[in-house]
């Protein structure tokens, strides 16, 4: 990954991120997604915790990402399940902006959701 430091990975310029659009990227070969809600940018795992589906094909509504397969919803702020059938929370990554670039933490935030 270009521009990666140990803990954070550079993803893309902040001004290229459109509201409620989903952007895919990879960290260490694992899919992640990025999106924007209002002024806030969120990053989470790219694969649903229910069965197997790419969340990049899903939808964003309010602060929730919805899986394209069976409609599970995950709160982008905490990873908590907001709509079934998923049972397990979605890993969430910290986001920081430096020099107009979005950086995402390599490791998920400590036990999140509920």
């Amino acid at each position: 990954m270009p521009g990666s430091s140990d803990d954070y990975v550079r993803v893309m310029p902040v001004d290229e991120i459109a509201e409620a659009e989903i952007y895919e990227f990879e960290v260490d070969g694992e899919p992640r997604i990025l999106t924007r809600v209002g002024d806030e940018i969120f990053a989470c795992d790219g694969i649903c915790t229910h069965e197997y589906a790419e969340l990049a094909e899903g939808e964003i509504e309010d602060h929730v990402v919805y899986c394209p397969l069976h409609g599970s919803g995950f709160d982008l702020r905490t990873g908590a399940v907001t709509s079934l059938p998923a049972v397990t929370p979605l890993p969430i990554y910290d986001v920081k902006i430096e020099g107009g670039q979005v950086f995402v933490s390599r490791r998920p935030r400590g036990e999140s959701g509920a």
Binding site: E51, E59, P68, H70, G71, L84, P85, V87, A114
Partner: protein
């Protein structure tokens, strides 16, 4: 010293699991007892007809949570025990093990059981129903050696089993009085698309027909249809619907009509007794009528809502019900109220198995079913939640931006 209050959850299935979790999340610190007739802790029932039957998933992968999850939350599991009597005056449940359990609050989440037709030959070996992990294990073993499978009933279970049996390379005949698979729920228009889908995957569809008898020497060898046709087979799967497991409640004098009657908080007619999931016939407060829903999302959500109510945090449960079904490489997502319709509008490409169906009553959208159209899920759900009045031609028009329409008609 005050006695610790006891919450008993009867039925360790989907609703029971989510209720137990919600009780603890809501801060209930009394005793939580999750009692179930099956010998295993709560698991993902929908996988039984799909990944598990196809051998892509083993039983270990089906459990919602590891045992430690229940231990850490002090949720006691009493498995392999069936409740045989309920006494609401004494607040006691009698189990088939001889034990008797006292409750302060009780949830009945006993689900539903498959209907077994009383027709000749349906008790032969090789004839299966599919509800539990034990059922699915037995069916999977039988399918491994089978060549020809006859499926009685083209509802969700029958159709999913048909798809799984085809994936295993078995010859499959699907028989139902319906004119097309799942037509009673999805309507003729979308059901016709599913008929094509199953045919394209090599299923022999016998619609408008009924199996009247199964024959064989000890083990099933043929199925006889109402027109006299005889279908050679070595496995039969019966999927003709389910009946709520409400007998215990009815015997205890609770109000039961099809399912156990509950209000918007999941409360039954008996004090401190609740019901949730497939067994409940529940009052939807914003719709202003009772609904019977036999799907996963509802069981989990209502179970959780009742868990919170039992912990002293009642909330009005008024969801847009939803379900999914996966068959072959397709997925269908449904949002809506199972209250019938007077018009169905299709949007998309039926021939490519990528189509949405909108169900209208008096010009208002009451349900929507999206077959392989994931980008329309949320907009459709919003239209349903608002019961929006939409011109059929606008819905059908491929140039209509559904999200913009939902925003305009259903608000933010």
């Amino acid at each position: 010293m005050a006695r610790r209050p006891v919450s008993v959850l009867l039925g360790a299935g989907v609703a029971g699991h989510f209720a137990a979790d919600a009780l603890r999340q809501a801060g209930f610190d009394g005793q939580v007892l999750l009692i179930g007739a099956e010998p295993v802790r709560p698991y993902d029932r929908p996988s039984l007809s799909k990944g598990f039957l196809q051998g892509q998933k083993e039983a270990d992968a089906l459990f919602f949570r590891p045992e430690a999850f229940y231990r850490e939350r002090d949720i006691e599991l009493l498995l392999g025990r069936r409740a045989v009597a309920l006494d609401v005056a004494a607040r006691r449940v009698a189990l088939d093990s001889g034990e008797s359990v006292r409750y302060d609050k009780l949830l009945i989440a006993t689900g539903a059981g498959p209907i077994r037709p009383r027709l000749p030959g349906f008790d032969l070996s090789g004839v299966h129903v599919l509800r539990s992990l034990a059922d699915a294990t037995a069916l999977r073993e039988d399918l491994a050696a089978a060549e020809r499978v006859v499926i009685v009933g083209a509802g969700f279970i029958g159709c999913e089993v048909a798809a799984s049996a085809r994936a295993l390379g078995r010859a499959v005949t699907l028989v139902d009085l319906l004119t097309a698979p799942m037509g009673h729920v999805l309507g003729d228009e979308l059901a016709a698309v599913y008929a094509e889908l199953h045919r394209a995957h090599g299923v022999d569809l016998r619609m408008g027909r009924r199996v009247v008898e199964l024959r064989g020497q000890g083990r099933v060898e043929e199925a006889v249809l109402d027109d006299g046709t005889r279908l050679v087979c070595d496995v039969v799967v019966v999927g003709v619907g389910v009946r709520p497991e409400a007998g215990l409640a009815a015997d205890a004098g609770l109000a039961v009509d099809r399912g156990i009657l509950v209000d918007e908080h999941g409360a039954t007619s008996a004090l401190d007794v609740y019901a949730a999931g497939d067994v409940a016939y529940w009052w939807h407060p914003t719709l202003g009528r009772r609904l019977m829903v036999e799907h996963f999302d509802h069981a989990g959500m209502q179970g959780a809502a009742v868990g919170r109510a039992m912990a002293g945090q009642p909330e009005s449960y008024a969801p847009v019900p939803s379900f999914w079904t996966d068959q072959y490489d397709t997925t269908l997502q449904y949002y809506g109220y199972p209250i019938g319709w007077d018009q169905v509008v299709l949007r998309g490409e039926p021939s490519a198995f990528a189509v949405s169906a909108f169900y209208l009553v008096g010009g208002r959208v009451v349900a929507a079913a999206m077959l392989n159209r994931p980008k329309e899920h949320r907009a459709a759900r919003r239209l349903v939640a608002a019961r929006a009045a939409v011109e059929p031609a606008v819905l059908a028009d491929p140039d209509t931006d559904l999200r913009a329409l939902a925003k305009q008609l259903a608000g933010e």
